[in-house]
């Protein structure tokens, strides 16, 4: 149970950067974004949580949204990444590489390289 709860929290923590990564490719509307996230198995615990997250990202200036009326389709709200969002995503990517390496070392009980441990504490 504790492990499952931890994974849930981890998923929620990385969901924001994953949303930004998808939007970096191209703008998407809600269901499209949800389906792409759901396609990455195990990343999305429930579809609905994407929307509060999108709203927080938008409030933080990382995402913007606009209504588009595609021909033959009903109007949909499309989400796009902002310049600030791109910068944030780049920072996260750099941190993530380091973080996963640290966690992998700890979980595999390998000795932690001293420099890596220091960097981990800096975080």
């Amino acid at each position: 149970m504790a492990a499952a709860g931890g994974m849930t929290e981890l998923r929620r923590g990385v969901l924001g950067p994953c949303v930004l990564a998808l939007l970096e490719v191209r703008p998407r509307f809600g269901l499209e974004l949800v389906r792409d996230l759901a396609a990455a198995d195990g990343l999305l615990t429930s579809d609905g949580t994407v929307y509060p997250l999108l709203n927080r990202l938008r409030d933080g200036g990382l995402v913007t949204s606009e209504w588009r009326d595609e021909e033959g389709e009903r109007a949909r709200r499309y989400y796009s990444i902002t310049t600030a969002g791109q910068k944030h995503l780049a920072e996260f990517r750099a941190s993530w590489q380091q973080f996963t390496a640290t966690v992998s070392h700890v979980l595999s009980s390998d000795p932690i390289p001293s420099g890596m441990a220091d960097r981990g504490r800096e975080q």
């Binding site: 931890g6 929290e9 981890l10 929620r12 923590g13 990385v14 969901l15 924001g16 950067p17 509307f29 809600g30 269901l31 949800v34 759901a38 615990t45 429930s46 579809d47 609905g48 949580t49 929307y51 509060p52 997250l53 999108l54 709203n55 927080r56 409030d59 933080g60 990382l62 009903r74 949909r76 709200r77 944030h88 920072e91 996260f92 941190s95 993530w96 973080f99 975080q123």
Partner: protein
């Protein structure tokens, strides 16, 4: 089968639960999330979807209460911090932003309330000032308007009351002119007589013309011995600036019936006066009574047997 996804009973029940769950959210957040979830359901539920398909879409969305909690609390946790160190900072950054917005909104609310209070105070002060402004007063010079009346006027005094009386000139205009002084700090504008409460109704019978009241423009001092009013117009409304006076002329058409030595006249005159933003009736006490005396001759508007 339902016409649209939103008509599906399961969806309607979900939306109903959602409305209840989102009620505790700030209106903007609740409305936005409702719009997003509704759009999601519309997109996710294909036309002619079975109840099982609909139920699966709703299950994947998650319980509305969970979405409300997610919105209210945010996703930031300690574990999330571990993989996304910026999340807490962003959340912290966004909370002050909301506080700033709330503070700004609060500031605007206070500013608006203060402005409204100031306007109300100004209005109240002006209304009170207008209501408490001293009424116009008659005084100074005064005279019958027409030379033939001035020549025949008889001034009397009894019990401390002054009266000036002239023979009625039936079928002719008669009248007087007095000084009207505005002793208040506000401009007062005479709009006309308050009929039924003074001149000119006391002087006249039925049928027009009744009476004419006008204030001088420009101001001109009255010479009680026979004023010269060349170039002076008497108009209504008549404006009297603060602490100034104007000559007020009161004329009436004498068609009332006075038998023998009968008299008719007035010791006061009621005017409609605008003071600031209010209009009120001011009853002006005249320094003397202005009377006409019979007998009447000629044609009269009033059909009294003794005047036929």
């Amino acid at each position: 089968m339902s016409a649209t996804a939103l008509d599906n009973p399961l969806v309607r029940e979900y939306l109903h639960e959602m409305a209840a769950a989102f009620a505790r959210l700030p209106a903007r957040q609740g409305d936005e999330l409702r719009e997003q979830i509704t759009a999601h359901i519309t997109d996710a539920v294909p036309p002619g979807a079975s109840d099982e398909q609909v139920a699966a879409v709703l299950a994947r969305l998650g319980p509305p209460a969970e979405l409300a909690t997610e919105t209210a609390t945010g996703a930031t946790t300690e574990a999330a911090d571990a993989v996304d160190p910026g999340a807490r900072r962003r959340a912290a950054d966004s909370r002050p932003a909301r506080r700033t917005w709330q503070a700004w909104r609060s500031w605007r609310t206070w500013a608006a309330a203060s402005a409204i209070a100031a306007v109300v105070a100004v209005v109240a002060i002006k209304v009170i000032a207008a209501e408490t402004a001293p009424a116009l007063t008659a005084g100074g010079a005064e005279a019958w308007w027409y030379p033939q009346d001035r020549a025949r006027a008889v001034d009397t005094s009894a019990d401390g009351t002054e009266q000036t009386t002239v023979p009625i000139r039936s079928g002719h205009w008669q009248g007087f002119v007095i000084d009207l002084f505005n002793d208040s700090d506000q401009t007062q504008t005479v709009l006309g007589p308050a009929y039924g409460n003074g001149l000119p109704t006391a002087f006249i019978g039925a049928g027009p013309p009744h009476g004419i009241i006008g204030l001088s423009t420009p101001n001109r001092e009255i010479d009680a011995g026979g004023g010269v009013y060349t170039g002076v117009k008497f108009v209504l409304p008549g404006v009297i600036p603060p602490h100034q006076l104007r000559a007020m002329r009161v004329l009436w058409f004498s068609n009332t019936c006075l038998q023998g030595k009968g008299q008719q006249g007035n010791d006061e005159i009621a005017l409609r006066v605008r003071v600031g933003w209010i209009t009120r009736t001011e009853v002006i006490s005249l320094t003397q009574g202005w009377y006409v005396q019979g007998p009447s001759t000629g044609k009269y508007a009033i059909s009294a047997p003794y005047c036929q």
